[in-house]
Protein backbone atom coordinates (compact mmCIF):
# COMPACT_ATOMS: atom_id res chain seq x y z
CA UNK A 1 0.00 0.00 0.00
CA UNK A 2 1.46 3.37 -0.98
CA UNK A 3 1.50 6.33 1.40
CA UNK A 4 -1.26 7.99 -0.59
CA UNK A 5 -3.46 4.88 -0.52
CA UNK A 6 -3.00 4.65 3.23
CA UNK A 7 -3.84 8.35 3.62
CA UNK A 8 -6.99 7.92 1.53
CA UNK A 9 -7.99 4.86 3.59
CA UNK A 10 -7.48 6.81 6.81
CA UNK A 11 -9.54 9.76 5.57
CA UNK A 12 -12.50 7.48 4.82
CA UNK A 13 -12.11 5.69 8.16
CA UNK A 14 -11.74 8.88 10.20
CA UNK A 15 -14.56 10.90 8.65
CA UNK A 16 -17.61 10.52 10.86
CA UNK A 17 -15.75 8.27 13.31
CA UNK A 18 -16.58 8.51 17.03
CA UNK A 19 -13.91 7.99 19.69
CA UNK A 20 -14.40 5.91 22.86
CA UNK A 21 -15.26 9.08 24.75
CA UNK A 22 -17.89 10.04 22.20
CA UNK A 23 -15.88 12.68 20.30
CA UNK A 24 -17.01 12.90 16.70
CA UNK A 25 -14.52 13.50 13.88
CA UNK A 26 -14.78 15.20 10.52
CA UNK A 27 -11.86 14.34 8.24
CA UNK A 28 -10.96 16.15 5.05
CA UNK A 29 -8.09 15.58 2.64
CA UNK A 30 -6.08 18.72 1.93
CA UNK A 31 -4.07 18.42 -1.26
CA UNK A 32 -0.49 19.68 -1.46
CA UNK A 33 1.52 20.77 -4.48
CA UNK A 34 2.93 17.28 -4.62
CA UNK A 35 0.91 14.15 -3.76
CA UNK A 36 3.47 13.37 -1.07
CA UNK A 37 2.46 16.57 0.70
CA UNK A 38 -1.21 15.64 1.11
CA UNK A 39 -2.55 16.02 4.63
CA UNK A 40 -5.76 14.95 6.39
CA UNK A 41 -7.32 17.61 8.57
CA UNK A 42 -9.40 16.14 11.38
CA UNK A 43 -11.87 18.40 13.14
CA UNK A 44 -12.90 17.06 16.52
CA UNK A 45 -16.47 18.01 17.39
CA UNK A 46 -16.65 21.24 19.41
CA UNK A 47 -12.90 21.72 19.19
CA UNK A 48 -12.74 23.38 15.77
CA UNK A 49 -9.94 25.68 16.95
CA UNK A 50 -7.55 22.76 17.45
CA UNK A 51 -7.66 20.50 14.39
CA UNK A 52 -5.43 17.44 14.24
CA UNK A 53 -3.42 16.90 11.04
CA UNK A 54 -2.50 13.45 9.84
CA UNK A 55 0.25 12.64 7.34
CA UNK A 56 1.69 9.36 6.12
CA UNK A 57 5.29 8.93 5.05
CA UNK A 58 7.36 5.83 4.31
CA UNK A 59 7.96 5.10 7.98
CA UNK A 60 5.04 6.36 10.02
CA UNK A 61 1.64 7.93 10.48
CA UNK A 62 2.18 11.32 12.04
CA UNK A 63 -0.60 13.13 13.94
CA UNK A 64 0.11 16.79 14.68
CA UNK A 65 -1.81 19.45 16.57
CA UNK A 66 -0.76 23.08 16.91
CA UNK A 67 -0.40 24.73 20.28
CA UNK A 68 0.81 28.32 20.44
CA UNK A 69 3.29 30.47 18.54
CA UNK A 70 6.53 31.99 19.77
CA UNK A 71 4.86 35.41 19.80
CA UNK A 72 2.34 34.20 22.38
CA UNK A 73 5.04 33.18 24.87
CA UNK A 74 5.92 35.60 27.69
CA UNK A 75 9.62 36.21 26.97
CA UNK A 76 10.61 36.16 30.65
CA UNK A 77 8.91 32.76 31.10
CA UNK A 78 10.29 31.13 27.96
CA UNK A 79 13.10 29.08 29.52
CA UNK A 80 10.83 27.89 32.29
CA UNK A 81 8.21 26.88 29.73
CA UNK A 82 10.70 24.93 27.59
CA UNK A 83 11.93 23.15 30.71
CA UNK A 84 8.35 22.26 31.62
CA UNK A 85 7.65 20.98 28.11
CA UNK A 86 10.67 18.69 28.18
CA UNK A 87 9.88 17.50 31.68
CA UNK A 88 6.28 16.63 30.92
CA UNK A 89 6.94 14.91 27.59
CA UNK A 90 7.47 11.44 29.10
CA UNK A 91 4.62 11.44 31.65
CA UNK A 92 2.20 12.77 29.01
CA UNK A 93 0.51 9.74 27.45
CA UNK A 94 1.30 9.01 23.79
CA UNK A 95 2.19 12.57 22.76
CA UNK A 96 5.34 14.67 22.60
CA UNK A 97 6.06 18.36 22.12
CA UNK A 98 7.86 19.81 19.15
CA UNK A 99 8.41 23.07 17.35
CA UNK A 100 8.28 24.01 13.70
CA UNK A 101 9.37 27.53 12.86
CA UNK A 102 7.56 29.76 15.31
CA UNK A 103 4.86 27.22 15.99
CA UNK A 104 4.87 24.98 19.06
CA UNK A 105 3.09 21.73 18.47
CA UNK A 106 2.20 18.42 19.98
CA UNK A 107 2.38 15.16 18.04
CA UNK A 108 2.04 11.42 18.17
CA UNK A 109 3.38 8.87 15.70
CA UNK A 110 2.14 5.39 14.83
CA UNK A 111 3.58 2.63 12.68
CA UNK A 112 2.50 2.82 9.05
CA UNK A 113 0.45 -0.36 9.35
CA UNK A 114 -1.64 0.90 12.29
CA UNK A 115 -5.36 0.23 11.76
CA UNK A 116 -7.89 3.06 11.63
CA UNK A 117 -9.25 2.43 15.16
CA UNK A 118 -5.78 2.97 16.63
CA UNK A 119 -5.44 6.22 14.70
CA UNK A 120 -8.85 7.30 16.07
CA UNK A 121 -7.67 6.72 19.63
CA UNK A 122 -4.39 8.50 18.88
CA UNK A 123 -6.28 11.55 17.59
CA UNK A 124 -8.67 11.54 20.57
CA UNK A 125 -5.71 11.38 22.96
CA UNK A 126 -3.85 14.08 21.07
CA UNK A 127 -6.91 16.32 21.13
CA UNK A 128 -7.28 15.83 24.90
CA UNK A 129 -3.58 16.50 25.42
CA UNK A 130 -3.77 19.64 23.28
CA UNK A 131 -6.49 21.17 25.44
CA UNK A 132 -4.74 20.09 28.64
CA UNK A 133 -1.42 21.51 27.43
CA UNK A 134 -2.87 24.90 26.47
CA UNK A 135 -4.64 25.06 29.83
CA UNK A 136 -1.61 23.98 31.86
CA UNK A 137 0.83 26.22 29.99
CA UNK A 138 -1.42 29.28 30.08
CA UNK A 139 0.78 30.78 32.79
CA UNK A 140 3.64 31.03 30.30
CA UNK A 141 1.52 32.66 27.62
CA UNK A 142 0.50 36.25 27.09
CA UNK A 143 -3.18 36.60 27.83
Amino acid sequence: MTNQEKLAELQVGLDGAVSELGLEFKAELIKGNDVNENVIQVIVDEREEFPVYVTVDSGQILCVSHLWTEQEVKPEKRTEMLDAMLTISIPMPLSAFSKLGNQYLIFGALGKRAPVNEVIEEIATLSENTLTAVEEFATYLKS
Binding site: G32, V39, R47, T55, L100
Partner: protein
Protein backbone atom coordinates in the same frame (compact mmCIF):
# COMPACT_ATOMS: atom_id res chain seq x y z
CA UNK B 1 28.52 18.94 7.93
CA UNK B 2 26.30 15.88 8.38
CA UNK B 3 22.93 15.45 6.78
CA UNK B 4 21.05 15.82 10.04
CA UNK B 5 22.66 19.15 10.90
CA UNK B 6 21.98 20.45 7.39
CA UNK B 7 18.36 19.42 7.73
CA UNK B 8 18.29 21.12 11.11
CA UNK B 9 19.60 24.31 9.53
CA UNK B 10 17.05 24.07 6.73
CA UNK B 11 14.21 23.83 9.19
CA UNK B 12 15.52 26.30 11.69
CA UNK B 13 17.46 28.94 9.81
CA UNK B 14 14.64 30.16 7.61
CA UNK B 15 12.22 30.52 10.48
CA UNK B 16 14.45 32.71 12.61
CA UNK B 17 15.32 35.00 9.71
CA UNK B 18 12.20 35.26 7.61
CA UNK B 19 9.69 34.92 10.40
CA UNK B 20 6.94 32.98 8.73
CA UNK B 21 8.80 30.74 6.30
CA UNK B 22 9.07 27.33 7.96
CA UNK B 23 11.61 25.70 5.79
CA UNK B 24 14.28 27.17 3.60
CA UNK B 25 13.36 25.98 0.07
CA UNK B 26 16.93 26.56 -1.11
CA UNK B 27 18.35 24.37 1.66
CA UNK B 28 15.78 21.67 0.87
CA UNK B 29 16.76 21.80 -2.80
CA UNK B 30 20.41 21.34 -1.85
CA UNK B 31 19.53 18.38 0.34
CA UNK B 32 17.48 16.85 -2.46
CA UNK B 33 20.46 17.29 -4.79
CA UNK B 34 22.61 15.49 -2.22
CA UNK B 35 20.17 12.61 -2.18
CA UNK B 36 20.28 12.44 -5.99
CA UNK B 37 24.10 12.44 -5.89
CA UNK B 38 24.11 9.68 -3.30
CA UNK B 39 21.76 7.62 -5.45
CA UNK B 40 24.03 8.11 -8.44
CA UNK B 41 27.11 6.94 -6.57
CA UNK B 42 25.02 4.09 -5.28
CA UNK B 43 24.26 3.02 -8.85
CA UNK B 44 27.98 3.32 -9.64
CA UNK B 45 28.85 1.16 -6.66
CA UNK B 46 26.34 -1.49 -7.71
CA UNK B 47 27.85 -1.57 -11.19
CA UNK B 48 31.33 -1.97 -9.69
CA UNK B 49 30.06 -4.76 -7.50
CA UNK B 50 28.78 -6.66 -10.53
CA UNK B 51 32.19 -6.30 -12.22
CA UNK B 52 34.09 -7.46 -9.14
CA UNK B 53 31.76 -10.44 -8.72
CA UNK B 54 32.33 -11.42 -12.37
CA UNK B 55 36.11 -11.24 -11.85
CA UNK B 56 35.81 -13.22 -8.66
CA UNK B 57 33.90 -15.96 -10.47
CA UNK B 58 36.62 -16.15 -13.15
CA UNK B 59 39.33 -16.57 -10.51
CA UNK B 60 37.20 -19.14 -8.71
CA UNK B 61 37.05 -21.17 -11.93
CA UNK B 62 40.85 -20.92 -12.25
CA UNK B 63 41.33 -22.10 -8.70
CA UNK B 64 39.07 -25.09 -9.25
CA UNK B 65 40.82 -25.96 -12.49
CA UNK B 66 44.22 -25.79 -10.78
CA UNK B 67 42.98 -27.94 -7.87
CA UNK B 68 41.75 -30.56 -10.35
CA UNK B 69 45.01 -30.52 -12.32
CA UNK B 70 46.95 -30.77 -9.08
CA UNK B 71 45.14 -33.93 -7.98
CA UNK B 72 45.55 -35.41 -11.48
CA UNK B 73 49.34 -34.86 -11.40
CA UNK B 74 49.56 -36.22 -7.87
CA UNK B 75 47.91 -39.39 -9.21
CA UNK B 76 50.46 -39.55 -12.04
CA UNK B 77 53.36 -39.10 -9.61
CA UNK B 78 52.13 -41.96 -7.43
CA UNK B 79 51.75 -44.18 -10.49
CA UNK B 80 55.32 -43.30 -11.61
CA UNK B 81 56.64 -44.13 -8.13
CA UNK B 82 54.69 -47.39 -8.18
CA UNK B 83 56.43 -48.29 -11.43
CA UNK B 84 59.79 -47.35 -9.88
CA UNK B 85 60.34 -44.58 -12.45
CA UNK B 86 62.06 -42.11 -10.13
CA UNK B 87 63.09 -39.74 -12.95
CA UNK B 88 59.53 -39.37 -14.24
CA UNK B 89 58.23 -38.94 -10.69
CA UNK B 90 60.70 -36.06 -10.11
CA UNK B 91 59.64 -34.41 -13.34
CA UNK B 92 55.98 -34.67 -12.31
CA UNK B 93 56.82 -33.33 -8.83
CA UNK B 94 58.35 -30.25 -10.46
CA UNK B 95 55.16 -29.71 -12.39
CA UNK B 96 53.12 -30.19 -9.16
CA UNK B 97 55.24 -27.57 -7.39
CA UNK B 98 54.53 -25.11 -10.23
CA UNK B 99 50.81 -25.78 -10.04
CA UNK B 100 50.83 -25.38 -6.24
CA UNK B 101 52.57 -22.02 -6.53
CA UNK B 102 50.07 -20.80 -9.06
CA UNK B 103 47.19 -22.12 -7.00
CA UNK B 104 48.45 -20.26 -3.96
CA UNK B 105 48.74 -17.01 -5.94
CA UNK B 106 45.23 -17.39 -7.40
CA UNK B 107 43.82 -18.28 -4.00
CA UNK B 108 45.11 -15.06 -2.49
CA UNK B 109 43.69 -13.08 -5.44
CA UNK B 110 40.37 -14.81 -4.81
CA UNK B 111 40.47 -13.92 -1.11
CA UNK B 112 41.14 -10.30 -2.07
CA UNK B 113 38.08 -10.31 -4.34
CA UNK B 114 35.94 -11.89 -1.64
CA UNK B 115 36.95 -9.14 0.77
CA UNK B 116 36.20 -6.34 -1.64
CA UNK B 117 32.84 -7.88 -2.54
CA UNK B 118 31.85 -8.00 1.10
CA UNK B 119 33.09 -4.43 1.66
CA UNK B 120 31.22 -3.15 -1.38
CA UNK B 121 28.03 -4.89 -0.30
CA UNK B 122 28.39 -3.32 3.13
CA UNK B 123 28.90 0.15 1.69
CA UNK B 124 25.95 -0.26 -0.65
CA UNK B 125 23.67 -1.38 2.18
CA UNK B 126 24.77 1.51 4.39
CA UNK B 127 24.32 4.05 1.61
CA UNK B 128 20.91 2.66 0.70
CA UNK B 129 19.82 2.92 4.31
CA UNK B 130 21.03 6.46 4.68
CA UNK B 131 19.47 7.55 1.36
CA UNK B 132 16.17 6.11 2.57
CA UNK B 133 16.36 7.88 5.90
CA UNK B 134 17.37 11.16 4.20
CA UNK B 135 14.35 10.86 1.92
CA UNK B 136 12.12 10.11 4.90
CA UNK B 137 13.41 13.11 6.85
CA UNK B 138 12.92 15.47 3.92
CA UNK B 139 9.41 14.10 3.44
CA UNK B 140 8.58 14.67 7.09
CA UNK B 141 9.83 18.25 6.85
CA UNK B 142 7.82 18.88 3.70
CA UNK B 143 4.59 17.33 4.99
CA UNK B 144 4.90 19.14 8.31
CA UNK B 145 5.29 22.38 6.41
CA UNK B 146 2.17 21.41 4.46
CA UNK B 147 0.39 20.85 7.78
CA UNK B 148 1.15 24.44 8.60
CA UNK B 149 -0.40 25.69 5.38
CA UNK B 150 -3.47 23.56 6.10
CA UNK B 151 -3.62 25.15 9.54
CA UNK B 152 -3.81 28.63 7.99
CA UNK B 153 -6.77 27.55 5.88
CA UNK B 154 -8.48 25.93 8.84
CA UNK B 155 -7.90 28.87 11.14
CA UNK B 156 -9.42 31.28 8.64
CA UNK B 157 -12.31 28.90 8.08
CA UNK B 158 -13.26 28.34 11.69
CA UNK B 159 -12.48 31.49 13.53
CA UNK B 160 -12.41 34.01 10.72
CA UNK B 161 -8.81 34.86 11.44
CA UNK B 162 -5.46 33.76 10.18
CA UNK B 163 -3.30 31.74 12.50
CA UNK B 164 -1.00 34.65 13.18
CA UNK B 165 -3.92 36.28 14.94
CA UNK B 166 -5.15 33.08 16.51
CA UNK B 167 -4.27 32.87 20.14
CA UNK B 168 -4.06 29.45 21.78
CA UNK B 169 -5.39 30.59 25.15
CA UNK B 170 -8.34 32.40 23.59
CA UNK B 171 -9.09 29.42 21.37
CA UNK B 172 -9.13 27.18 24.43
CA UNK B 173 -11.52 29.59 26.14
CA UNK B 174 -13.84 29.36 23.15
CA UNK B 175 -13.69 25.56 23.19
CA UNK B 176 -14.34 25.45 26.93
CA UNK B 177 -17.21 27.93 26.65
CA UNK B 178 -18.80 25.81 23.96
CA UNK B 179 -18.35 22.67 26.05
CA UNK B 180 -19.84 24.45 29.08
CA UNK B 181 -22.81 25.57 27.01
CA UNK B 182 -23.40 22.04 25.88
CA UNK B 183 -23.15 20.72 29.45
CA UNK B 184 -25.58 23.44 30.59
CA UNK B 185 -27.98 22.57 27.80
CA UNK B 186 -27.78 18.90 28.67
CA UNK B 187 -28.31 19.59 32.37
CA UNK B 188 -31.26 21.85 31.61
CA UNK B 189 -32.84 19.21 29.40
CA UNK B 190 -32.21 16.60 32.08
CA UNK B 191 -33.72 18.85 34.75
CA UNK B 192 -36.81 19.48 32.64
CA UNK B 193 -37.23 15.82 31.95
CA UNK B 194 -36.89 15.02 35.65
CA UNK B 195 -39.41 17.67 36.63
CA UNK B 196 -41.87 16.48 34.04
CA UNK B 197 -41.55 12.92 35.20
CA UNK B 198 -41.77 14.02 38.85
CA UNK B 199 -44.85 16.18 38.34
CA UNK B 200 -46.60 13.38 36.53
CA UNK B 201 -45.95 11.05 39.43
CA UNK B 202 -47.19 13.62 41.98
CA UNK B 203 -50.44 13.96 40.05
CA UNK B 204 -50.96 10.22 39.99
CA UNK B 205 -50.25 9.93 43.74
CA UNK B 206 -52.75 12.69 44.48
CA UNK B 207 -55.37 11.06 42.30
CA UNK B 208 -54.92 7.78 44.11
CA UNK B 209 -55.26 9.60 47.48
CA UNK B 210 -51.83 8.42 48.59
CA UNK B 211 -50.58 11.93 49.20
CA UNK B 212 -52.59 14.89 50.34
CA UNK B 213 -53.55 17.15 47.53
CA UNK B 214 -53.32 20.32 49.59
CA UNK B 215 -50.07 19.97 51.49
CA UNK B 216 -49.26 23.36 52.95
CA UNK B 217 -46.49 24.79 55.07
CA UNK B 218 -48.86 24.65 58.03
CA UNK B 219 -49.57 20.98 57.70
CA UNK B 220 -45.86 20.25 57.32
CA UNK B 221 -45.06 22.25 60.46
CA UNK B 222 -47.78 20.43 62.34
CA UNK B 223 -46.37 17.08 61.36
CA UNK B 224 -42.87 18.04 62.41
CA UNK B 225 -44.08 19.26 65.80
CA UNK B 226 -45.84 15.97 66.40
CA UNK B 227 -42.68 14.13 65.58
CA UNK B 228 -40.73 16.16 68.14
CA UNK B 229 -43.16 15.61 71.02
CA UNK B 230 -42.01 12.17 72.32
CA UNK B 231 -38.59 13.72 73.07
CA UNK B 232 -40.04 16.33 75.42
CA UNK B 233 -40.48 14.19 78.60
CA UNK B 234 -36.78 13.23 78.52
CA UNK B 235 -35.58 16.78 78.21
CA UNK B 236 -37.88 17.99 81.04
Amino acid sequence: MGFFSKLFTAVRGAASEAGDALIDPQAIRILEQEIRDSKQSLDQAKENLTKVIAQQMAVERDVKRLQKTLSEYEGYAIQALDKGDEALATEIADKIADIENELEAQQSVLNGFKNSVSNLKHTINDTERSVKSMEREINVVKTTAKVNEAKEVAAAQFSGTTSSLRNAAESLERVKKRQQERTDRMNAALQMQREEAGDGLQDKLKEAGIISANASSNSVLERLKQRRQPKDPISQ
